[in-house]
């Protein structure tokens, strides 16, 4: 027995950018969390029978809190955004394999849009490693997590597609440039699939191993129902892996994009 469904109290739930919220939950007896693990949150509305999986954006062992950062994209996240402080939500955590690089590693963190939400926890949970972060957004109104990452990383580079904040262009182009000038033991990235396609080329060009966090519609969140697969190739054979249990972190080279 290792997993628990917690009664988590909402400490704060506030907008941090256009249609983007940060929610902090107090989880009594918060268990040990690895970077890039996720929490499966039950909405308080009874008609929604599926939980919503969110990557753990940040955590605080002493305060027994976890923070999730989410965009309002549908009915579920709309409901979540309207939950007041003080309310209790059911939360299963920590789920998934997580990402724990070897101590002493220097890691390039790359976030595409809301994928950036997983990066602070990766840095927080691996204090024995060094991190630089590149986070890309569509425009200035969507930029989040820059300050939080600055407190955890040696450097943070922001890019926007239209140049309205930070550097203009794609985050993978900025990474490409950086990898030409500095050595990293690995790249850890979270973002849309199209970013992973670019990242695969960049990582291969510089000979750096890349790890990515995937998302998929989930059922149980713990590996039992087999609805959230991704396609992987292992030992030359293609098959499915469960994003919730075998992932959400995979070596980029084993994923069939």
């Amino acid at each position: 027995m290792a997993l628990k469904d917690y009664a988590a109290q909402v400490l704060s739930n506030r907008p941090v950018a256009q249609d983007i919220y940060e929610m902090t939950l107090r989880v009594p007896e918060l268990p040990q969390i690895a970077g890039a693990q996720f929490v499966n949150i039950l909405l308080p509305t009874r008609e929604h029978v599926l939980r919503r999986p969110f990557c753990i954006c940040d955590c605080d062992r002493d305060a027994e809190t976890v923070t999730v950062c989410y965009a309002v994209v549908g009915a579920g996240t709309r409901i979540l955004s309207e939950i007041p402080s003080g309310q209790t939500l059911r939360a299963m955590l920590p789920l998934g394999n997580g990402y724990a690089p070897a101590a002493g590693s220097r890691i390039a963190l790359v976030g595409g849009g809301m994928g950036s939400a997983v990066l602070p926890a990766v840095a927080r949970c691996n204090p024995q490693c060094a991190f630089d972060a590149w986070i890309g957004f569509s425009d200035a109104s969507k930029v989040v997590l820059e300050e939080r990452l600055r407190s955890l990383c040696d450097s943070v580079t922001v890019t926007t597609d239209n140049g309205s904040a930070g550097r203009r262009g794609f985050v993978t182009d900025a990474l490409d440039e950086a990898l030409s000038n500095a050595r990293y033991d690995a790249v850890f990235a979270c973002g849309p699939e199209i970013m992973y396609r670019s990242l695969a080329k960049v990582a291969a060009r510089h000979g750096v191993p890349a790890y990515v966090s995937l998302e998929q519609r989930m059922g149980c969140g713990i590996g039992a129902c087999l609805v959230c697969n991704c396609k992987v190739k292992r030992n030359g054979e293609q098959g499915y892996a469960r994003v919730c249990k075998d992932g959400p972190v995979f070596a980029l080279e084993e994923i069939v994009l």
Binding site: L3, V49, R90, Q216, C220, I222, C225, C230
Partner: protein
């Protein structure tokens, strides 16, 4: 003193009438991280086939009001892998194990019925009602004649009690329950999921990659109850009821409509401890009201 929560199905004693439904509970290992499985009357395994199956493309799940649609398509590691890695572990969990088996052809079902003899499973649930596979599956579950034929074919070779799982996507489920009984089923379970669709209005495409899937969850409970009652009046073998159960009072409704035991499915996703919680609540109710569960079964009083 008449408190009793044990039930018996085909000579197998369940410590309580709560089982978990096939496809929602894997082979039990994931949920055993939340509670010991011996709190349950039993578990039904993920549907097993002769060969490993990859299942359908993603997305395989969609949410609807009070329910979900799934189109997993019987992804499973195959019976041989199950026998190697899950069978013994499940036996050690001290709960009744119901192996759910499926096939594409009659020969598949017969081969599965034979091979499952080598497992430690206490019972076999015949999955002839999966709406998510093209060949077999529900093809065997629609017409009463084929329900009877596939049940008999497996019964002839399988030494374990057979539960035929019935599809609600038929013209008269009671006819199919009768056909299963005629074919030698020791029990019937119902309902499997209802054929259903969800649409993304932005893309005008079905949400599920398979276009359609099976609906389950609280929204189907009234349909399941009516079907259980209909079948209770059609057969004398025990009925295992399922469809949208989320509480011990839901269980009571199924028992009153004629179910001897029930399965918890979708609710495991909402609350990972759901099945154990419902078993605990039911026990409390039966104890406090000093009720013998057998007095509830089929006790519906029609208006």
């Amino acid at each position: 003193m008449s408190f009793r929560q044990q039930v018996e199905i085909a000579g197998v004693t369940l410590r309580n009438p709560i089982l978990t439904a096939s496809g929602t509970f894997g082979f039990g290992k994931e949920y055993a991280q939340f509670y010991p499985l011996d709190r349950l009357g039993g578990i039904c395994t993920k549907g097993l086939t002769l060969q490993p199956r990859l299942g359908n493309p993603m997305p395989r799940i969609a949410e609807s009001y009070g329910g979900i649609l799934n189109s997993v398509g019987l992804q499973n590691p195959g019976i041989e892998q199950y026998l190697r890695t899950d069978d013994l572990w499940l036996k050690e969990q001290d709960t009744v194990v119901v192996a759910n088996i499926a096939g594409s052809t009659l020969e598949d079902y017969v081969a599965m019925g034979e091979r499952i003899n080598d497992s430690h499973a206490d019972m076999v649930e015949l999955n002839i009602s999966c709406p998510n596979v093209k060949a077999g599956g529900m093809a065997f579950g629609v017409l009463p004649e084929s329900v009877e034929r596939v049940t008999r074919a497996v019964k002839d070779v399988c030494r374990k009690p057979i539960i035929t799982k019935l599809s609600p996507n038929v013209s008269c489920i009671a006819d199919n329950a009768r056909a299963a009984e005629q074919g030698g089923a020791d029990a019937v379970s119902l309902i499997n999921t209802l054929a259903a669709m969800a649409v993304d209005v932005r893309t005008r495409r079905p949400v599920l990659a398979n276009n359609h899937g099976g609906l389950s969850g609280p929204c189907v409970k009234p349909i399941a109850l009516k079907m259980v009652w209909d079948c209770y009046n059609a057969v004398s073998v025990p009925i295992i009821g399922l469809g949208g159960i989320t509480s011990y009072t839901d269980v009571l409704e199924f028992l009153i409509c004629g179910a001897t035991a029930v399965q918890i499915g979708t609710h495991n996703f909402t609350y990972p401890t759901a099945a154990a919680d419902i078993a605990r609540d039911l026990e409390t109710y039966l104890r406090d009201s000093d009720t013998d569960i057998r007095d509830l079964i089929g006790s519906l009083i029609l208006n």
